[in-house]
Amino acid sequence: MNRIVDHPILGPLADAEVVHIIVDGVALTARKGEMIAAALIANGKNTFRRTVKRDEPRGIYCGIGRCTDCVMTVNGIPNVRTCVTEVAEGMVIETQLGSGEWQ
């Protein structure tokens, strides 16, 4: 279980509107207002892209939108920084291979 449902300081996780996203063809649910990276990790997905030269998996690294390791192709647009981009209803998210391609 990756979501922190209760927390000694932050209290219980408040209810949030469900947002439906599609990740590599699989329908998943996310919480309204959360970052794509958080939604993916909450759903057990930690690899967001594979690198150009070595075809190596990458996930989040800096977590604040600066290192660009977490980029994925979102709604056809490559290089979207998932740790600072909010989920949206119907969003299509794909593991980015290399530098990505515009759809």
Partner: protein
């Protein structure tokens, strides 16, 4: 390019920038606050622990609550805020090139500029450091405290400084297990209070140890730790493996100085505060008459010192534009100086105070 005029432009809306904007606005100046992110507050909103300091410094108040208070103050003062706005350059010490929403450029002609761009986390390198699951301590902190998602369940923390022990404690609060904290130095580096809390929770500390390798194919599965000798060299045969799914790197911060140095602010070396920083005087003015600096960008310390430095910068920038009479200015200036000095006391504060004094005293030489 489209041009607009503003009296004071503050770049960065973390604790330093927010406080600079608020102080300048309270003095009567017109303020524009910029931030490249979608939300203001910098790293403040993931600090769920209580800050140290006196009652003046809102000791016992959590970072995130301070953030909420500051945002409310800024709102009450009607401070103009541009989010998703990147300051890409400063020309002639007065013109800020801003790109908004990654799409449009605009030039802001500012009489005074306050650079409060913070700092970035350092990395250390070991085979496997690029595997998913290896991340900055700040990344884990954002994930658990802001997003309320656990990035992993068995965590190795690298670095025993304040960030290392505080984030370790917060990982425990979030329900993760912290398998170990490794520290390359022979002694631990964080505040006693936080270190003790983490120890009491049963987390083992390994001083004179570092990560030799992270193992795993698509994700971290284990870490190989190694003992270091008195020359910080790995001791062959001392390696041992721990099962982890997350490795957090907490090995210090480096001031984000691109804009400051790009605009010509003179650098000075301050190893105790993160390396090269823009030199400044007691009023937080840089080597450029119209550019002020505040917070981690001119020396990595804490949110509380960032707030006071921000206030000093805001006050002095506004006063340099003739806001506040001498008496009011002096009174407030002295109060803020007193506050920031009080934050740099005690065993940990001493080193930082000396480092800051050294920067300020070199101001005349370096200009």
């Amino acid at each position: 390019m489209k041009r607009v005029q503003r009296e004071i432009v503050v770049i960065g809306s973390g604790p330093a920038g927010l406080c600079a904007a608020i102080e300048a606005a309270q003095a009567g100046a017109g303020v524009l606050l910029l931030d490249e992110n979608a939300k203001p507050g910098g790293q403040l909103f993931k600090q769920i622990h209580k800050f140290f300091g006196s009652a003046d410094h809102r000791a016992g108040v959590r970072g995130l609550d301070i953030g909420v208070q500051l945002l409310k103050q800024a709102e009450d003062l009607n401070i103009e805020v541009w989010l998703n706005s990147e300051a890409c350059g400063i020309f002639d010490q007065n013109s800020v090139w801003v790109v908004r929403d990654k799409q449009h450029s605009i030039t802001v002609e500012a009489q005074r500029i306050i650079i409060a761009t913070g700092a970035v986390e350092n990395s250390i390198n070991f085979p496997g450091w690029t595997l998913p699951g290896v991340m900055g301590a700040g990344a884990a902190q954002t994930m658990i405290n802001v997003n309320r998602v656990l990035p992993g369940h068995r965590v190795l923390m690298v670095g025993s400084g304040n960030v290392g022990v505080i984030v370790s404690y917060q990982l425990l609060q979030a329900g993760a297990q912290v398998v170990a904290i490794v520290e390359a130095a022979p002694t631990l580096g964080g505040y006693g209070v936080h270190t003790a809390k983490v120890r009491r929770a049963g987390v083992p500390f390994y001083a004179s140890h570092t990560v030799k390798e992270a193992r795993g194919t698509d994700h971290v599965k284990s870490a190989v730790l190694v003992n270091l000798d008195s020359n910080w060299q790995p001791i062959d045969g001392s390696e041992f493996e721990v099962e982890v799914d997350t490795i957090c790197i907490a090995t210090g911060l480096t001031p984000a100085v691109e804009l400051a140095f790009g605009s010509g602010c003179t650098p000075v070396n301050s190893p105790a505060l993160g390396g090269l920083v823009p030199v400044h005087d007691a009023g937080m003015k840089s080597s450029n008459e119209s550019i002020y600096v505040a917070g981690d960008v001119c020396g990595v310390e804490e949110a509380s010192t960032a707030m006071e430095e921000g206030r000093i910068a805001g006050l002095c920038a506004a006063h340099s534009l003739s806001y506040l009479d001498e008496a009011a200015f002096s009174r407030r200036f002295e109060q803020l100086q007193h506050n920031v000095n009080a934050l740099r006391s005690g065993m940990f504060g001493q080193r930082r105070r000396e480092a800051k004094e050294s920067i300020v005293s070199s101001y005349g030489v370096h200009r």
